[in-house]
């Protein structure tokens, strides 16, 4: 019987060896797969215990911060952090941080720094090992809160977007998208925000695709100047036919293009054609360049390219159909694209960058929203180095285009953007939205001061009417405030 007992003990030893192997299997071998499962609550739980870094504007004002609660209050459990956003209109840029819906915007882009995970120095690993409370790093934006407030006011209540950036560095000083959501209420209002037909979660400045209207004549202008197709003094003269003044063209389906937008003006040089936004003149310029050359410039100005930015951007489009510029409608396509309609679909940020490229000697800066990352104590850990994204046109062509844009503000449709004592360059746009019952989108793009540009801007007010009446005066207010900012 003793032998039997010994044998049985041996059996149990084997059984427990099996248990040990199973432990090793689940705890080590299969661990990565198991931990990556979506029903693992640990990452979310851990994230809720980290005091996330703050998000600051360029002057150090707090835009987002996390508070650890010592005692439980409704909606805020003890030992967990809650995120507070002090300026909700910036929500489309900053995004939100939610344990339920994940991070978005800057909160997602800089999650590694804000959560402190990106730090991997020995001290950090030791602190984590000892379960010391974790504090993430602060992210300092290029956005200026004071300017942002002016932009929000200038945009008003309607839908629209505005971007102000430094044309040399690409630092975005203000970025607004209306309507916006309040990141403080993202969890309680999620369904409402998501279902809202006005789409407040969409950052219109970086993801809204609009027909640019006449503001896009700037691309045609700069391309034609560089190609030598025209000079500043090239004359344009048209016979306007009644009613209202139309001009007969060869490429249009009805053979006529309206010249209503420059009444009484039928003869001008290139500057005048741009300042008074003559569609016929610009369609002729575009047709002279031909589709291959024209599309090459569209790409040089950043169309059809993924735009690098910390937060998601939409690719600006020169066409929807690949054969648009080469099929049956090719003349109509090129002519209408050259004055800003056609199939163009462009983000406000892209338009601001086009203006910036003209202002910055033809070099388009790489846009950015994050200035630097610093520790809670203020020690700088990482800084964004300004870079040129692409060369759009030669400095010579840019310089000529710049002068014509200044002329457009001085004595053209963009005159409502004039600022006393400052040379402003700009272009208005009144873009057909495709919905013929609705009013057109009101656009303005520009830069200031012309001698040494410190800001480039794009403003769009959806369905608001003429660019000269709505977007230009709004842009003027914004530029005045931006010029008053201390330089960097």
């Amino acid at each position: 019987m003793r032998r039997n007992i010994g044998g049985l003990f041996g059996f149990f030893v084997l059984a427990f060896l099996l248990v040990s192997v199973a432990l090793l299997y689940w705890q080590v071998i299969r661990a990565p797969t198991l931990l990556a499962r979506e029903d693992n609550p640990r990452p979310v739980e851990e994230a809720k215990k980290v005091t996330r870094g703050r998000i600051l504007d360029r002057t150090g004002q707090e835009l987002a911060r996390s508070l650890m609660s010592r005692s439980s209050t409704p909606g805020h459990q003890a030992g967990y952090v809650k995120r507070f956003y002090s300026y909700p209109p910036l929500s489309p840029v900053i995004g939100y941080w939610s344990s339920r819906y994940g991070p978005a915007g800057i909160e997602a882009a800089e999650d590694g720094h804000l959560s402190g995970r990106a730090r991997a120095n020995p001290q950090e690993l030791w602190d984590r090992f000892l379960h010391r409370p974790q504090v993430g790093d602060d992210v300092v934006l290029t956005v200026d809160l004071a300017l942002q407030k002016v932009v929000e006011a200038a945009l008003g209540k309607g839908s629209g977007a505005a971007v102000v950036l430094n044309p040399r560095t690409g630092a975005i000083l203000a970025m607004a998208s209306h309507p916006y959501f309040d990141a403080n209420n993202i969890e309680s209002d999620w369904e409402k925000i998501k279902a809202d037909p006005a789409r407040p979660l969409l950052n219109r400045a970086t993801q809204g695709l609009y027909p640019p209207g006449s503001t896009f004549k700037t691309v045609t202008l700069a391309a034609a100047l560089e190609q030598g197709v025209v000079t500043a003094t090239t004359p344009f003269s048209y016979t306007l036919l009644p009613p209202g003044g139309v001009h007969k063209v060869a490429w249009h389906q009805n053979d006529y293009v309206s010249c209503e937008n420059h009444p009484g003006k039928s003869s001008f040089d290139l500057s005048g054609a741009y300042a008074w936004s003559c569609n016929v003149a610009f369609s002729e310029i575009g047709l002279k360049m031909g589709p291959d050359t024209y599309l090459e410039y569209a790409r040089r100005f950043g169309l059809e390219e993924a735009l690098p930015l910390e937060i998601p951007t939409e690719v600006s489009r020169a066409y929807r159909r690949p054969d648009y510029f080469f099929g049956q409608e090719r003349f109509y396509a090129l002519a209408s694209t050259a004055f800003g309609q056609g199939e163009l679909a462009i983000t406000p940020l892209q338009m601001a960058l086009i203006s910036a490229a003209i202002a910055n000697n033809g070099a388009m800066p790489r846009p950015h929203l994050v200035n630097r990352v610093q520790s809670r104590e203020g020690q700088v850990l990482a800084t964004t180095v300004p870079r040129i994204w692409r060369i759009s046109v030669s400095p010579a062509a840019a310089s000529q285009a710049k002068a014509i844009m200044v002329y457009s503000v001085d004595s053209g449709w963009a005159s409502k953007a004039q600022i006393k004592g400052v040379k402003v360059g700009g272009k208005t746009g009144t873009a057909e939205s495709g919905d013929f019952k609705a009013r057109p989108h009101s656009w303005f793009i520009g830069f200031a001061p012309a001698e040494d540009p410190r800001l480039a801007i794009a403003v769009i007010k959806e369905f608001a009417g003429y660019g000269s009446e709505e977007a230009a005066p709004a842009a003027k207010k914004i530029m005045e405030a931006a010029l008053a900012l201390p330089g960097d």
């Binding site: 039997n4 010994g6 003990f9 149990f12 059984a15 248990v19 689940w26 029903d39």
Partner: protein
């Protein structure tokens, strides 16, 4: 003199005391920032241990000195984990520990004659059957597990399957001890197969029937496999015939297959075991969360109080070992396995050293109870076999189980002090 003062036991108990104090201080620090927060239960537990030790010295007890410290080390860890996982139940668990310890001491002090167990075997068998019958008729399901495994007396409840384990072992030890010599005298044949003598065959079939009844009627897969396992292994110890073991295991396996086909709830259990991943909404959630918790523990664990085992439903009764795996890591879990290994080693050694054949069979049976039960719950926790609701001895929350296991240890201690 050293033997009289039980110095080996004393030094090991000091280690257990240090383990307890460290664990409670750590848990207090993590949960409230105060290392003294859990001083009261710590003092009560250590006081209980001290009194038990002094008592054993006072009555001049000469039994095994390793068994109790091993058990108390496991129990200390169990108390710590219950306090970690279900703080509201921790005081009640501590009370059960003290009751269990007291019961064990009373047993080793006053029960001098083990032959009483042998002589009245049909009384124990009757008591056991009575318990089963009562549960079948009056069983309640206080925690909504779908299994009516408890007997209630007013506010108190207990799980009859726990004391039943011991009654079964005593009865089988006595029965098999008497019939041991008949083993080679079998003349029964079924075709080419030589069947065991009727004295083996009859209880064999009865036990099988009882296990199947438990499985199908009470849905208690844990108790069914535990009882049948106890029976088969004791039969093997008494007869030395491995063929009985394999035949029985084969029979259990085959009848489980049939139960899987015939009974929907058995089928569902087995399905959940085979593939819980795609069925988290239908009951697979518990085991999936348990395995994720193990993965989160890794080699060294998250540290006591820093894991999230509370996401596993019924963690303090069914998955304490997994919680240990998460917070103390593979290292801690293997340490616990090591303690169990020492416990079984000790229990089997007591069986080996027993002189009287009944005592030897009974001690082996008790060792088997501990080993089987631990293996079944651990293998269930690790998805080696379908999960069952039985407790992890001395670690899981549960009063019936604790008291029963302390009585079991008392019986082993009694066997160990018999003249060798």
């Amino acid at each position: 003199m050293l033997q009289r003062l039980r110095v080996t036991e004393l030094s090991l108990l000091v280690t257990v005391g240090l383990l307890t104090a460290t664990g409670l201080a750590l848990l207090g620090l993590v949960k409230t920032g105060q290392p003294g927060e859990l001083a009261r239960p710590g003092v009560i537990f250590l006081g209980g241990i001290t009194l038990a030790y002094l008592w054993l010295v006072a009555i001049g007890f000469r039994g095994d000195q390793l068994l109790l410290p091993i058990v108390l080390a496991l129990n200390s860890l169990g108390l710590l984990m219950v306090r970690r996982l279900a703080p509201g139940s921790a005081d009640r668990q501590l009370a059960w520990v003290l009751i269990g310890l007291a019961g064990m001491l009373v047993l080793v002090t006053f029960w001098r004659d083990l032959t009483i167990l042998k002589r009245y075997r049909y009384l124990w068998a009757l008591a056991g059957l009575g318990l089963v019958a009562l549960t079948l008729v009056f069983g309640t399901d206080p925690n909504g597990s779908g299994e009516r495994l408890w007997l209630g007396f007013g506010a108190a409840r207990f799980q009859p399957s726990e004391p039943l384990k011991i009654l079964l072992v005593i009865f089988l030890a006595s029965y098999l001890d008497e019939k041991r010599e008949l083993i080679s005298l079998s003349r029964l044949r079924l075709g080419p197969l030589r069947l065991p003598p009727l004295d083996y065959l009859a209880p064999f079939l009865v036990m099988w029937a009882i296990s199947m009844a438990l499985l199908v009627w009470q849905r208690d897969l844990g108790a069914a496999s535990l009882f049948f396992g106890i029976f088969l292994t004791m039969l093997f110890v008494a007869s030395g015939r491995a063929s009985y073991l394999f035949a029985g295991a084969g029979l259990f396996f085959l009848s489980s297959l049939v139960a899987d086909r015939v009974f929907a709830h058995v089928h569902q259990r087995i399905q959940l075991w085979a593939d819980p991943w795609s069925q988290t909404a239908r009951g697979g959630y518990q085991i999936v969360q348990a395995l994720i918790a193990l993965a989160a523990g890794g080699l060294l664990g998250t540290g006591l109080g820093y894991g999230y085992p509370e996401y596993i439903p019924a963690v303090h009764t069914d998955f304490v070992f997994v919680a240990i795996g998460e917070e103390l890591g593979l290292a801690g879990a293997l340490g616990v396995l090591g303690l169990y290994f020492l416990l079984f080693h000790r229990a089997f050694k007591i069986a080996l050293q027993a002189v009287d054949s009944f005592n030897q069979l009974m001690a082996a049976g008790l060792a088997i109870v501990l080993s089987w039960q631990t293996f079944i719950i651990l293998a269930g926790n690790l998805k080696l076999i379908p999960l069952t609701g039985i407790t992890l001895p001395f670690v899981s929350y549960g009063g019936s189980s604790l008291v029963t296991n302390y009585i079991l240890v008392g019986l082993l201690l009694l066997v160990s002090k018999e003249p060798k």
